[in-house]
Symmetry: C2
Subunit: 694 residues, 2 copies
C-alpha cells in the first residue's frame, strides 16, 4: 500500500508551483500605473536585481568550492564505507539545494518588486483590490517556497531513497538562506536605520521622502532583505525539516521495513499544500471590511483542513493515531506562539504600552524597558516549545521506543512547517503593502492611496510578528530534530545498533559535552554580534553619506536637485556583502573544528548549546524589536504626547535599536542553528573516523 | 598525616578576620573631616543602614520559613534514609549561611560608608594617603568575606564532617546574596540612572551636585548595591565553591578513605589567605606614582605566592601534582579573563573606541554598536572557561577516573576563588574612591581633592571590570562543579555506585534533558528581565520625582532651598525591595517544580541550560555595560567632539542603558545560577524519592 505514495507529494508540489504561476500571471496582468511610479519601480527593480546578482556571484565560488570538498571527502568516505560505487551524492545535492534556495530568494524578490507597484496602483481603486493584489503576491511566494522544497526533496527521495545521501540538499538550502538573511538583513537595516536617522530625525522630512538620498536603498532593502531573505529562510527550514524527519524515520524503516516512516513527512507536506490552496481562496475582504479577519480566516481554514487530512493519512498509513498527536502538537505550538507574540508585541497589551510609557523618561529608559520586555518574552515561547518536545516524544510512543519518540519530535516540526505556505503568503503580504505605500509616497500619489496601504500595513505588522515567531519556533523544533538525527548518525557510524548505547558519551556529566554546551552558547552570541556590527557599520556609512549630500548638493531639500541614490545603494551593498564573510565562516568552520579536534560528543554539546542560547536570543531580539516598533506606533496614535513629543523622539531611538535586532540578527539565528546542525550531520561519518578525541 | 590539617584553615580564617579588624581600626582612627562632609556622611550612613535593615527584615520571614521547610522535609528525609537520629542539619546550616551572608553584606556596607568620607578627607593630604585609606577599606572587606566563608565551612566540617549536611550553609549564602544583588542592584541603578537623566542631561548640573534631589539616594545606592551586593556575592561564591569541591571530594574520600580529598579545598583557601595578606602589604603608591602598578603588584604577588603554596600542599597531601595542575588552570583562567576584559572594555582598545565613534551617528547607532560588542565579548571568555573545564578535568586524571576529573574542575574553581580576597580588596576600593569623590563634590571641597579621587577612580574602573569578569567566570566554574555535585547526589540517591550508570538518563538525546535545557535558557532571560524591569520602574519614578521637585520647590536650582532627599530614597527603597520578590521566587521555585514534576534529569538539563545561557548573558551585560561607560569616558577625554558634543550626548544614553546591564542584571545572574544549583543539591534526595517522572 505504502509504496509510491510519495507521488502524492510530487503531484502536490507541481500543483503548488502551477497555482503560483497562475497567480503570478494574474498579478503581472495588472497595470503598473504610470509616470513617476514606473520610474521608481524601475529603480527598485534594478537595485534589487543588481544586489541579488552580486550576492549570488559572491557566493558562487564558495558554494562550488564546498560542493567539491563534499564530493571529495564526505562522498568518497561514504562510498568507501558502504562499498558501493562512488557517486558525489552530497556534493551534487548540496549544489542543487543551494540553487533551489537561491531560486526561491530570487523568485521572492522578483514577485515582490512586481507586486509592490501594482498594489500601489490597485490601491487607487480601493482596499479590496489592493488586498487582492498584495495577497496574491504573497501567495505566489508561499506556494513557490513550499512547492520547491517539497519537489526537491521528493525528487531526491525518488532517485536515491536514502535521506542521508541528499542531506546536502538541506545544507545547500540552509547556507544560501543564511547568507541571504545576513547580507540582506544588513543591507535592509543599514539603509532603513540610516535613512530614518538623518531624514526623519535630523532633517525632519517624512519617511520615504524622495529628497532623502537613502530612500531607494531603503526600498531595495525591503525586497532583498525582508522578502528574499525570508523566502530563502522558509524554503530551507521546510527542506531541512523534511530531511530531518526522514533521517529519523530511517532507523524505524530499517527495523520495520515500512517505507511509511520515510514517506509520511512527504505526505504531510502534500496534504498541507492542498489545504493551503483552499485556505487561500477564502481570503477576500469586503470594501471597508477588516482585512485582519480575511487573513486569519485563510490561516484557520488551512490549519483545520490540514489537521483533518493529517489524521486520515496517519490512520491510513499506520493504523493508529499516535503520530497524528505529535503532528497536532506542532499545529498547537503555532497557535500558542501566535497568542504569545500578540501579547508581547501588540500595543493593545500592557508590555508594549509599558515601553511607550517609559519613553516619557527619555530614550535610555525606553530602551531599558524594551530590553527587559524582550528578555521576558523569550521565556514562555521557550516553555511552549520545551513542553512540545516532551509531548511529541511521549505521544509518539517514546516511552517504549526512543526512536518513535524522536521521530515524533520531527513530525511535530514537520506539521508546523507544513502550513508554512499560508504563513509566508501572509508574511510576504506585509512588505508588499509597506513598499506599495512607499512608492505611493515617493511618486506623490493621492494621500488616499497611502491611507489604504497604511490600513493594510497595520495588519501586516501583526502578521509579520506572528510569522517571525513561527520562523523561530519552527527553526528551534527543526534544529532539535536535526540534532537528534546527528546523534543517530554518530551512533550508526560508531557501529552501534542503538542510539541509547551512546548515552554515556552524551551525558551531561561528560566534560566534552559541557565544553560543547558552553561554547555553543558563546557561539550564538558571537554570530549575533557580527550581524549587529554589520548594521552599525552600514548605517554609520549611510548617516554620513546622507548628511554629506544634504550639505553639499544645493537645492536638494527644496526638491530641485536629485539626490545621488546610487551612492547609498553602493554603500549598503558593500556592507551587506562584506558582512556575510565572518558569520558564514563561523557557521561552516566551527562545527568542523570542534568535531575533529574535540570529537563528535563535544560537537553534540555545541549543537544543543547553540539551540538553547539561539532560541532564547532570537526570541528576545525578534519580540523586543517588534515591541519597540509598536510602542512607537502607539505613541503615534496620540498616547503620551503623540507625534513630535519628547516621548516620541525617545521611542524612535528604541525603534531604531530594535530594527537590526528584529530584522537582521534575530532572523539570521534561525538558519544559523539549522545550518550548523546540517553540516554536522553531513560530516558525522568523517568526524567519527578521523577525530583527535574519539 | 592528613587528619586535622583543616585546623590550618581555621587558623587562616581567624587570622584573616583579625587582620581585617586591625585594618578597620586603622581606618576608623583616621579623621572624618568636618562640617558638611560629616553631614553628608551621616545622611549616607543613615540611608544605607535603613535600607539594609529593611532589606534584611523583609527577607527574615522568608528565610525562617525556608529553614523550617528544610528542617521538616530534607532533614527528616535524610534522617529517615540514613537511620541516624533526626537533626535539622540543612535547616540550621541554611540559617547560619544566610546570617553570615547578611553579616558579610552589612560589614561591607559599613566599612565602605566609614571609608568613603575618610578617603575624601585623606585626599586633602595627597594621593598616597587616599590610596592607603581606600585600599585598607577594600582589604577589610576582602579579608572579611573570605575569612567568614572559610570559617563557616571549616567549622561545619569540623562539627559534621559530611559536606552534604551543611550544603544549606552555601544555599543560605547564595540566597541572601541573590537578594542583595537584586534589591541593591535595582536600588543603586534606579537612583543613579534617575539622578543622571534629569540632573546631568535635562538640568545640566554636574554629577553629585547637592541640588539634585536624588544625589543622596545615589550615594546610598553605591554602598548598598555595588559594595554590599558584591560582598555578599563573593562570600557566597567562595562558600558554595568550597562546599561543591568537598561534595565532589566525598565519593573519592569514601573510596580511598583519604580525608585529603575533603580537606584539600580548605587548605587551598588557607594558603591563599596567607598569600593575600602578604600581597596586600606590597600595595603602596609613591606620591605622583601610578596607583595601577601598585594594585597590580598586590594581585601578582598574591597569585604567585598562592601558586607556590598550592604546589607544595598538593605534593604534601597527594604525593603527585595532578590536582595542582587543575588548580593552576583556575589561576590561569583569571589571568586570561582579565586580559580579555581589558581588551573589550578599556578605551585603549578598538572595541570601546568603535562604540565612541558610532556615537557620532546618534544614540541608536551607539547602542547598536555597544550591543554588538557586548554580544561579541561573551564569546572568548566562554571559550576560555570551556577549555578550562576540559583541561582541569583531564589534568586531574579524569580519563581514568571520572570522579577525579570532576574533582579537578571543582579544584580549578576553588583555586580561582581562593584569591578572591585580594580581588575584592581591589574591587571595593573602586566604589570607595568613587564615593569619596562624590562626597568631595557635594561638600564643596577643594577641586584638587576631586582630582585625586578621580585619578584613583580611573584605576578603579579598570579593576572593577576585571573583578566583574572574575565574578562571572568564577560563578560559571563554581556552578558547573555544583551541577556535577548535583548529578552525583542523584546517582547516590538512586542507589548507584557510580555516576556513569546514570548516563543514559542524562543523555542529550533524552527529551527530558532537552526540555530542561531549553527551559533553563529561557529562565535566565526571564530572571534578567525582572532585574532590568525593576531598574526601569525605579528610574522612571526618580525621573518623575526629580522633575517634580525641580518644578515645585522654589529656589532649588539656586541652591537656596534644600531638595527632599528622603523622598527619592524612599522611592528606590520600595522599588528595590519590591523587585526582589519575583526573581527570588523564580530561583527557589523553578528547580523544585521542574524536579518534582519532570524528574531529576530534566532538572539537570535545566541547571546546565541556566549556566550556558547565564554565562553568555552575564558576560554580555557586564562587558557591554562597561564598554558603553568607557566609550563615554573616551569622548570626555576630547575625542569625537568631547564633552557637550552630540556624540557625548549619544554616549550618555548608551552609558545609561548599560548601567542596569552591568550593575544589576549581569551581576545578579552570578548568584542566580549558583543558588538554583544549590537548592537542587539540597532537594536531590527528595526529588529522586517523590518525583512524578522518575
Amino acid at each position: 500500500m505504502q509504496v509510491g505514495l510519495y507521488w502524492l507529494a510530487l503531484l502536490a508540489s507541481c500543483i503548488a508551483l502551477a497555482v503560483a504561476a497562475g497567480a503570478a500571471a494574474l498579478v503581472l496582468a495588472k497595470p503598473k500605473g504610470s509616470g513617476r511610479m514606473v520610474e521608481i519601480y524601475e529603480a527598485i527593480k534594478q537595485g534589487a536585481k543588481a544586489y541579488m546578482n552580486r550576492q549570488y556571484k559572491t557566493l558562487m565560488a564558495f558554494i562550488i568550492l564546498l560542493a567539491v570538498i563534499f564530493a571529495v571527502t564526505v562522498d568518497y568516505f561514504t562510498a568507501g564505507r558502504s562499498g558501493s560505487p562512488y557517486f558525489p551524492y552530497t556534493g551534487l545535492s548540496f549544489l542543487v539545494g543551494a540553487l533551489f534556495s537561491a531560486l526561491a530568494g530570487y523568485l521572492g524578490m522578483s514577485v515582490a518588486v512586481e507586486c509592490n507597484v501594482r498594489t500601489a496602483n490597485a490601491a487607487k481603486s480601493g482596499l479590496r483590490e489592493a488586498l487582492s493584489t498584495s495577497f496574491k503576491g504573497g501567495l505566489v511566494m508561499g506556494l513557490c517556497m513550499v512547492g520547491l522544497a517539497l519537489l526537491g526533496v521528493t525528487l531526491f527521495y525518488w532517485l536515491w531513497r536514502n535521506p542521508l545521501l541528499f542531506a546536502g540538499f538541506g545544507f545547500g538550502g540552509s547556507l544560501v538562506a543564511l547568507f541571504a538573511r545576513i547580507g540582506g538583513g544588513i543591507y535592509t537595516k543599514s539603509a532603513d536605520v540610516g535613512a530614518d536617522l538623518v531624514g526623519k530625525i535630523e532633517a525632519g522630512i517624512p519617511e520615504d521622502d524622495p529628497r532623502n538620498p537613502a530612500v531607494i536603498a531603503d526600498a531595495v532593502g525591503d525586497n532583498v532583505g525582508d522578502v528574499a531573505g525570508m523566502a530563502a529562510d522558509v524554503f530551507e527550514t521546510y527542506a531541512v525539516t523534511l530531511i530531518g524527519a526522514m533521517l529519523l524515520g530511517w532507523p524505524l524503516y530499517t527495523k520495520s521495513n515500512n517505507v511509511a516512516f520515510l514517506e509520511y513527512p512527504l505526505i504531510l507536506g502534500a496534504i498541507a499544500i492542498f489545504s493551503t490552496i483552499i485556505g487561500a481562496l477564502t481570503v477576500r475582504a469586503k470594501e471597508g471590511g477588516d482585512p485582519t479577519s480575511a487573513i486569519l480566516r485563510g490561516i484557520v481554514v488551512t490549519a483545520v483542513l490540514a489537521i483533518i487530512g493529517f489524521s486520515l493519512a496517519t490512520w491510513q498509513l499506520f493504523g493508529h493515531l499516535e503520530l497524528f498527536y505529535s503532528a497536532l502538537i506542532g499545529v498547537v505550538i503555532v497557535v500558542l506562539l501566535a497568542v504569545l507574540t500578540d501579547y508581547y508585541t501588540s500595543y493593545r497589551h500592557s508590555p508594549t504600552r509599558s515601553i511607550a510609557e517609559a519613553a516619557q523618561a527619555g530614550p535610555a529608559i525606553n530602551i531599558i524597558r524594551g530590553l527587559a520586555n524582550g528578555l521576558e518574552s523569550a521565556f514562555l515561547p521557550t516553555l511552549v516549545i520545551a513542553l512540545g518536545v516532551i509531548g511529541a516524544y511521549l505521544l509518539a510512543g517514546g516511552l517504549s521506543d526512543a526512536y518513535m519518540g524522536m521521530y515524533g519530535v520531527a513530525i511535530a516540526a514537520m506539521a508546523m512547517l507544513s502550513i508554512a505556505g499560508i504563513i509566508v503568503s501572509v508574511d510576504a503580504y506585509g512588505p508588499i503593502v509597506d513598499n506599495a505605500g512607499g512608492i505611493a509616497e515617493m511618486a506623490g500619489l493621492d494621500p488616499k492611496v497611502r491611507e489604504i496601504t497604511d490600513t493594510l500595513d497595520a495588519v501586516g505588522n501583526t502578521t509579520k510578528a506572528l510569522t517571525k515567531t513561527f520562523a523561530i519556533g519552527s527553526a528551534g523544533l527543526a534544529a532539535l530534530s536535526l540534532l537528534l538525527a546527528y546523534m543517530n548518525e554518530v551512533a550508526s557510524y560508531k557501529g552501534m545498533a542503538d542510539i541509547t548505547k551512546l548515552t554515556s558519551e552524551l551525558s551531561l556529566a561528560s566534560p566534552k559535552v559541557i565544553f560543547g554546551l558552553l561554547l555553543g552558547g558563546g557561539l550564538v552570541f558571537l554570530f549575533a554580534s557580527f550581524c549587529m556590527k554589520g548594521v552599525a557599520r552600514g548605517a554609520f556609512g549611510i548617516v554620513n553619506e546622507v548628511r554629506r549630500q544634504f550639505k553639499e548638493i544645493p537645492g536638494i531639500m527644496e526638491g530641485k536637485a536629485k539626490p545621488d541614490y546610487a551612492k547609498c545603494v553602493d554603500i549598503v551593498t558593500r556592507t551587506g556583502l562584506r558582512g556575510m564573510a565572518l558569520p558564514g565562516a563561523l557557521v561552516v568552520l566551527s562545527p568542523i573544528i570542534v568535531g575533529f579536534a574535540f570529537g563528535p560528543y563535544a560537537l553534540a554539546g555545541l549543537l544543543i548549546g547553540c539551540i538553547v542560547a539561539g532560541l532564547a536570543l532570537a526570541l528576545m531580539m525578534a519580540k523586543g524589536g517588534a515591541a519597540w516598533d509598536n510602542a512607537k506606533k502607539f505613541i503615534e496614535t496620540g498616547a503620551f504626547g503623540g507625534k513630535r513629543s519628547p516621548a516620541h523622539a525617545a521611542a524612535v531611538v528604541g525603534d531604531t535599536v530594535g530594527d537590526p535586532c528584529k530584522d537582521t540578527a534575530g532572523p539570521a539565528i534561525n538558519p544559523m542553528i539549522k545550518a550548523i546542525n546540517m553540516i554536522s550531520i553531513i560530516f558525522a561519518g568523517l568526524i567519527v573516523a578521523l577525530t583527535l578525541i574519539p
